[in-house]
């Protein structure tokens, strides 16, 4: 029990920090960065993505013994696509205007590189439960960074978080329009990646 406890501890730490999908693997930024101008959009998107990653990794590793090598990629894409369609239909049914806000980006979770990456790198060669843990915590590591991006963008751009006006930012702060527009997303993400990588290397320098 202790060995797989430390193993899963390593998977969790890797997913969140050591091998973080955004600033370490630099994968899967496409579909979510577009909606980071609003924290609520990003939260829904990240929840959908984390759910899809965890469940897809779980299913892929369940079927890993039966999928022939040649069509492995095709089978993985179909599994991911089916989960994404479930999420899409759920949003359309229970939260129509959010689904309208997100537009095609919910569908684009299918081609999100981090899901295919985790399935290909981990789920294909590991038992279901660790794969589920790996998918879940990679999704969480991914969501943390993008939530940080969206909070910065919404706060500086619109002075609100989740739509509620913030005390200082909504009154005295003259809004940075650039944060609402696409270049703002690039700059914010770049700064956060810079911050995280510097923290990580100074840490690693001491240990190695």
């Amino acid at each position: 029990m202790s060995s797989n406890k430390s193993a899963s501890k390593k998977i969790i730490l890797d997913g969140l920090w050591g091998n973080n999908p955004i600033f370490r693997q630099v994968l899967g930024i496409c579909s979510t960065l577009a909606v980071t101008n609003l924290v609520i959009n990003t939260a829904v998107m990240c929840a959908a993505l984390t759910l899809t990653t965890a469940l897809s990794c779980f299913t892929v590793s369940l079927l890993r013994a039966y999928t022939p090598r040649r069509i492995r990629m095709m089978v993985q894409t179909l599994i991911i696509a089916s989960y994404v369609i479930m999420v899409d239909l759920y949003l359309k049914a229970y939260w129509p205007e959010m689904s309208a806000n997100l537009g095609p980006y919910v569908g684009l979770i299918i081609t999100n590189c981090i899901i295919m990456g985790r399935c290909e790198a981990f789920a294909v060669a590991n038992p279901p439960v660790p794969s589920l843990v790996d998918g879940l915590f990679n999704g969480l590591g991914y969501s943390l960074i993008l939530l940080a991006v969206s909070i910065t963008r919404e706060l500086l751009g619109m002075g609100t978080i989740l739509g509620y006006p913030m005390p200082y930012f909504s009154t005295l702060w003259d809004k940075w329009i650039i944060m609402v527009m696409p270049p703002g997303a690039f700059f914010t993400l770049a700064l956060i990646i810079w911050l995280c990588r510097s923290i990580q290397t100074t840490g690693r320098e001491k240990t190695s």
Partner: protein
């Protein structure tokens, strides 16, 4: 990181390379470009260039070669021994036809007791690509340690 096919081919060769046992990357998961950037960055911070380092390593190797396998004492307290083997090692970089002889240089710094070893291929990889190999690889050279030994 999504990489171009050429980059992927280089990564594949360096990780599972049939030239040196254990490959050139040890158990370092970082992409090659990042390893090179980090090492070049440390070298720059110490005020040297890869070219100077490669030249100095070559000088020490040639001094050691005169001993034909026995230990040669350099003036600054370094002891050099060459272990020469037949055959040539091609460079793993995809478009780099350079070949280096299987000569391994052992350097012992008598004052600090540091022992370093590098092959001719290591010298070429440092000069041409700034590649000091990944952590855990048998021929990994830590730039700061290397500079402290060879520029004594």
């Amino acid at each position: 990181m999504k990489e171009s096919p050429q980059q992927k081919k280089l990564e594949d060769i360096l990780r599972y390379c049939p030239l040196v046992s254990g490959g050139f990357m040890g158990e370092d998961l970082r992409p090659v470009k990042e390893i090179i950037d980090t090492d070049t960055h440390t070298v720059e911070q110490l005020g040297y260039t890869n070219e100077q380092i490669a030249e100095r390593m070559e000088y020490i190797r040639n001094e050691g070669l005169k001993g034909l396998g026995s230990v040669v004492k350099l003036n600054n307290g370094l002891e050099v021994r060459i272990d020469d083997n037949r055959g040539l090692l091609p460079s793993p970089w995809p478009d780099d036809p350079h070949r280096s002889s299987k000569t391994i240089t052992f350097v012992l710094d008598t004052d600090t007791g540091n022992e370093l070893r590098w092959s001719d291929l290591s010298i070429h990889l440092i000069r041409a690509h700034g590649f000091y190999q990944g952590h855990g690889s048998p021929f990994r050279l830590n730039p700061s340690e290397l500079i402290s030994v060879i520029f004594k």
